[in-house]
Symmetry: C2
Subunit: 334 residues, 2 copies
Amino acid sequence: MAKVTIKEIADILGVSTATVSRVLNNSGGYSEETKRRVLDVLKQYNYQANAMAKGLRTKKTNSVGVVLPDLTNEYFAKIAVAIERVLMKKGYSINIYNMSEDANKEELMLRDLESRGVDGLIYVSGYRNQVNRVKELNIPVICVNQLEKMDETMPVIESDHEYGGYLAAKALLERGTERIIMLRDERDILPINQREQGFKAGLKEQHLRPLHISRIPFNVDAAQKEIADLLKNGKSFDGIFASSDILAIGALKALQQHGLQVPDNVQIIGFDNVTFSQYSYPALTTIHQSTDQLGEKAAERLIQSMQENHLDSNGRIVVPVHLVERETTQAWRV
Amino acid sequence: MAKVTIKEIADILGVSTATVSRVLNNSGGYSEETKRRVLDVLKQYNYQANAMAKGLRTKKTNSVGVVLPDLTNEYFAKIAVAIERVLMKKGYSINIYNMSEDANKEELMLRDLESRGVDGLIYVSGYRNQVNRVKELNIPVICVNQLEKMDETMPVIESDHEYGGYLAAKALLERGTERIIMLRDERDILPINQREQGFKAGLKEQHLRPLHISRIPFNVDAAQKEIADLLKNGKSFDGIFASSDILAIGALKALQQHGLQVPDNVQIIGFDNVTFSQYSYPALTTIHQSTDQLGEKAAERLIQSMQENHLDSNGRIVVPVHLVERETTQAWRV
DNA sequence: GTGAAAGCGCTAACAT
DNA sequence: ATGTTAGCGCTTTCAC
């Protein structure tokens, strides 16, 4: 029951700890015969290496940190799980640092990161300053969907937000809408700005512009209130592009409470394809972001960096997005 | 930049490592004067203890494991975050073990748990056998909402599932429904069984019984299909109690697609009060479970166990639930 | 009040 | 092919 150590295994076999260690690490320098004997006893006693002793000696912990803004947000949780799936297979375990949008935690996180000696870090949705502080740890860092432009040396994995916005504009136009508004997260962050850019570019191809762009806090209630206000003020529109499904859901609710039919009177396209978007009524048409690919690619890239033991980058990886057509848009018309 | 060690601090000050260590741990045996000097240099060099060296020496890691079935499920993520909030304040960091409903991972988790030497463990939604295996680690373990009856020595924090079911029945009856069906997770697990018990007890008080109980897989589509089938087969009902919001959402969708009005023709009550339940249309009436309390109480209790260094229990803690009335039920009728 | 030294469990030179 | 040994960074007796 008490954990068995290398020394005890060695004593049982009458060999040295070095031999046991060699077998454990497959580092060669022993006969097939000893290998077999050692392995047997190891298994028999269910030997489990002491990670702290090993880490102290080797300066490698086989663990990586994952920093994200909010674990209760399905989108981030999915990315974390995808990262874990890949890293787990390679023998790494992960420490999640849930920032809870709380600046105080940053200091605590940095201390913990340093104290525990993670071998690498994946920073999801970080601001430039936050990421720069983390770089001082001198371990490989990968960003996923960064919120501000990083310096050139930072490897980044991101969704094709701009093309997503473009797809939304195109889809709305093809389905006959003409007076389109955009509902966007008020924060001046890269992914949202890029979605807006792409969206405008899509409209511009048809020599159109958004009728109106609302900048609102990132939550359902704000979106609901905003659409209700626009309606109350007599604003007339037949299409909405929301920068996130969260906002689209709020818009949908406001329209329904105002007695408007979706998609007959107003069509809506969201962004992210969160699980719930398929269960609203009507089900939300949206731009799909692949959290799986985001997480997997980030993990693969980090593993590569950790093995090659270099910190610098070879640029960005852009993960494609696509339109998921459901019920808040009409059948294709053109 | 390179991490500074106790030895370096000691050399700078011309004292021994022992003295620095004593100051660091507030263990006394030094003058106020030295304390001040040591603290100064510590701060100046931004000293950060090496967690591995410390852990190796003290056999304490100041970390606890949190095992849960699925991180991408908001319910579990919220519990994890609540646990973290409490433990973080006490200087613990947490390792999340996301089982992804995958039995293979259990072995990996146990190895990792042992190897990293966590000081305690919180097992969320575990089966008896799983928890028993974990008990062999000889560290304090707390269960949250266990899926099967544990032995008497296991401390458990759980929602009052039974009373929740009772509340749902009472609410449905008070709002005039008479032909009530229940939609439940098909798995034979404690929380769901208890909700059913309470629900039946509530009906029985009015000398009623559920018209029908459907056992279905735990996902939206299954619920939607089940209600669609019942409707197709001419089953007539005016109230639904779903054992989880997830199922309630599926039911709502099926009713809407069948042209039925909620709550006019059919009233629905769910369970859990997941974030999304307030944003469905109409918004879901549901039984609220406090993930915050569940997580906080589990963490507090674990801290106590770890400090007292005893493994046994003092029974169960039951966290209250309550009805959250929204739009899938009618106004109170008597 | 302070220092010397041992040792936690492991790996990696360096011997043999 | 195998053993001996030093040491990773820390805490904790035991001396003084």
